[in-house]
Symmetry: C2
Subunit: 206 residues, 2 copies
Amino acid sequence: MIETAQQQGNPQKFPQESVIVFIQAMLPMPLEKASIIASQFERKTLAKHEFVLQEGKVCNESYFLESGYIRAFAFDPDGNDVTFNIFSPPSFVNDISSLFRRVPTKENIQALTECAIWTIPYERLQANFHAMPEFREFGRMMLIMSNTHLKDRMISMIRDTAEERYSALLRTKPDIFQHVPLKIIASYLGITDTSLSRIRREFAQK
Amino acid sequence: MIETAQQQGNPQKFPQESVIVFIQAMLPMPLEKASIIASQFERKTLAKHEFVLQEGKVCNESYFLESGYIRAFAFDPDGNDVTFNIFSPPSFVNDISSLFRRVPTKENIQALTECAIWTIPYERLQANFHAMPEFREFGRMMLIMSNTHLKDRMISMIRDTAEERYSALLRTKPDIFQHVPLKIIASYLGITDTSLSRIRREFAQK
DNA sequence: AAAACTTCTTGCCAAATGCTAAGAAGATTC
DNA sequence: GAATCTTCTTAGCATTTGGCAAGAAGTTTT
C-alpha cells in the first residue's frame, strides 16, 4: 500500500463529483461552471424509511440522489398506498409542482434504503437562477428532462402491457429489483403484487 | 342595432386576446408584458385532419390552441394508433422534448376539427427567452404546468379505474365528447373502444 | 432464541378488459 | 341520391387482472 498517489493527488477536491458528472451529462458545460452549480448543494444522509417530503407540506428543497433508493407515493381513496415513482441513483428527486409553484404537495417521498443525497434549498435555487445563466439553463433542462420521462412513462402505461412494462424495467433498471420490495415495484408498474408475482413466474419460464 | 359601442370601442386592439388571457391565468403579470409576449404569436388555421407535427421530425414551433380540437398520438408495435393526449382550447400544444432538446419527435400531432391556433417559431422563442425576463418566466411556468398535468395524468392511470377516468373526463372536459370520436377518447383513457362503450352503457344506467 | 412483522408466492374465484365479428347509424364522397 | 367509409354499439368468448386468504420464507424487534 505504498502507491496511493491517485487518492492523495485527488483528496476530494470535488466532494460533489457525482452531482457534477450528472449535470454535465444533462447539459454539457465547462467543468468550472458545473462545479459552481454543484458546490451549492449540501450533503445529507437519509435513514431507511425516512421521509424527505410529506403530503400537505410545501416542498422547500431540491434533491440529488447519490446512493440508495427513494420512492414517491400517495394514498388512493381506499387508503392503499400507490407508488408512482422509484428513484435510483444518480438522479434528481423533485416535486416540481410543489417546489416551483409553492403549493402543498400531494406526494410522500420516502427513502427505501439508506441514502446519500445532495440538497439545495428553494431560496438558493431561485437566487442562483437569477444570478447565473448556466444555472438557469440547467434548471430548465431539468424541467425538460422530467417532462420527457413523465411522457415516456405515461405512453408506456397506455400502450404497453403489464408484462412489457415489467420486462422494460428489468432491462433498464435491474438494480431496483435488488433493493426495492416487489410489492412497491408492482404498484409502480400499475398492478398488484399478486399480478406481478404471476407475471414473474410466466416470464421465468420463457 | 344602434349601440355597438363595445365593439367599436374595442376594434380588435388585441387580436391575440385569448393568448393574453391564458398567459395571465398561468402567470399573472402586467397586461403590457403579457401583450408583448402574445404579440410574438402568429395566427394560423388548421383544416380537419391536418398535421402540425409528424413522427421523426424536429418540432420547430410552439402552438396555442384558440379553438378546435387536437390530438397527439403514436403507433404501437402492432401498428395501432394510440392517442395519448387530446387538447381542447384554450391551451398550449407542445412537444416539449422535441422542441427544446432539438431531437426528432415520437409524436404525431393532428387537428381533429378545424382549428384556430397561434404559433411562434423556436428561434423567436429562444430570442425572447434571452431578451425578456417575463417571457422566460412564462416559458418556465409552461414547463412546470405541463409537468403537473403529466404527473396528475400518470397518477390517474395507475390509481384510478377506467370508469373513474371516464367519469373524471366527462366532468372536467365534457365538450370533448361533442367533438372527438369515442374511439380516440377510449385510446386516451387507456382502453379499447369496446370497453368504453360498455362503461358508458353501465354508467348511463346509474 | 422467540415472537412479531413483512414479503412473496400460490390457489381460487370474480370482475374487468381485450379480441373478433357483425350490424346499425351517421358522415363523406362520388 | 347512391355508394362508400367511419363510427359506435353489442355479443360471445378468451385473457388479464384483482381480491381474498393461506402459508412459507425472510427480517426485525424484543
